[in-house]
Amino acid sequence: MTTVLAYLDPGSGSMILQIIAGGLAAVAVTAKLYWGRLMRFLRIRKEEPEAAKAETARGTDPG
């Protein structure tokens, strides 16, 4: 059943926005994650402790 159940019109644009807003948050988190990886790859940022430990075990210079 797909009848509109609300007595209040939620607004089409307003509904789409809620998905995009949620999506934007997801994109932001993903971007942040990749940004961190990129920085580490370029050796601009230090390794995070956990990753660093693993790397040290393999004998890489911790930076």
Partner: protein
Amino acid sequence: MSYSERHTSAGPSPSKAGPGGAGLEPGSFRDPESRVFYAGDRVYRALSPDGLADFEALAATGLLDDERVVRTERADDGVVALGDLLVHQPAGILRHERVPFVSYPYEWPFSMLRDAALLQLDLLLAALERDMVMKDSTPYNVQFKGARPIFVDIGSFERMREGEPWVGYRQFCMLYLYPLLLQSLKGVPFQPWLRGSIDGIAPGQMRALLSFRDRFRRGVFTNVFLHARLERRYADRPNQVKQEVRRVFKKELFVSNVRKMRRLVERLAWNPPEGVWTAYGERNTYTDDDTRRKEDFVREVARARDWRLAWDVGANNGRYSRIAAEGAATVVAFDADQGPVELLYRDLRGEADERILALTMNVADPSPGLGWRGLERRSLADRGRPDLVLALALVHHLCIGANVPMSEVVDWFASLGAALVVEFPTREDPMVKKLLAPKREGLHPDYEIDFFERRLGEAFDVERSARLQSGTRVLYYARPKRG
């Protein structure tokens, strides 16, 4: 789009009368599942079968016992009072606690609207945890008991349906978020906007009010600019969009959007200009002979009997409202200037006060009746009469500042039917001189103490009067003439 009613509360003037003198609340008709009506001084809500099922689900969650929600109980005997006021017999009847004085968001200072918004979001989050939602989000569903906000629309809670987005999001923006943004980003008071439009500020309008720079402020790009653009783009495809959205929407997304909104609202701030703080602070500490006399005069009246509802018109920092509260169950402190009302509300909130309601209202231009037939939101005069009125440092502002003839002012006092404590500053008073200074010589010939006393004596029995030490201010305690 639009909202539900609603105020549980004070006051007569229902639109239609039932058998036991019962009447439907004229502001409660938008939501077909639940309808407020009055019988005597009791407030009831008639529920449809769906409305009743939602109520039972709500009762099972325990949210009804939350102190942020209006006291509510099943009262199916109320159906007798209802008679045939409704087309269908209701499936159930609820009875609500009465709020002492109904107020509307266009009478609230910034922090009151913000606190109402936070209450709305917190209850929505609490509902979501229990697999329920709220079908709307309007500040008209929030009332204040002193400085404590209470959610009064039990009919707003309903069982959650799979894939349903936040239906009240757009309404939240129009009636809460945009007014708050307008005042905090632009310094423009939101009250005239809310009073001007019962549905609030539309996304497209809000966008037009903001500058390019504003879109970099937190939450503005998404909730205003993007929102307005999407609204324009998808306006003609409602059904298609709704079905698609329901297919992909998840509860987690709902919760995260509401949380995000809460963080945004929590950070919004507005402060009155510097001068207001200074004046507010001074008046709280500074005590001269005149002030002491005035306090004693008001205190004696306040304690003379148990007053039900006192109005302090031109309350400023609430000094005399607090004294009135020593003898009155409820005090409404009105001031035309939002600044001191904001500061008074913050203080009262800090004290967890439930007796003094601080509102911004200009009595020379009071709240009118609004909405359908001008009855959905009541005019000030229609919201329960006071039995005590304080009018201190007010008359000269009305007569000289707002050009209201002296006789009109006294007639208005008399029309309230309440006992009156009124202060008359003579023409020699510094404040009166200041108000008269920019005016043409010879204006306001009626602003004379003899004329005032004659008019007051015609409309009231003047019980006592006292001239303050400085000699330019006189206080009167007057009671309405009988018959």
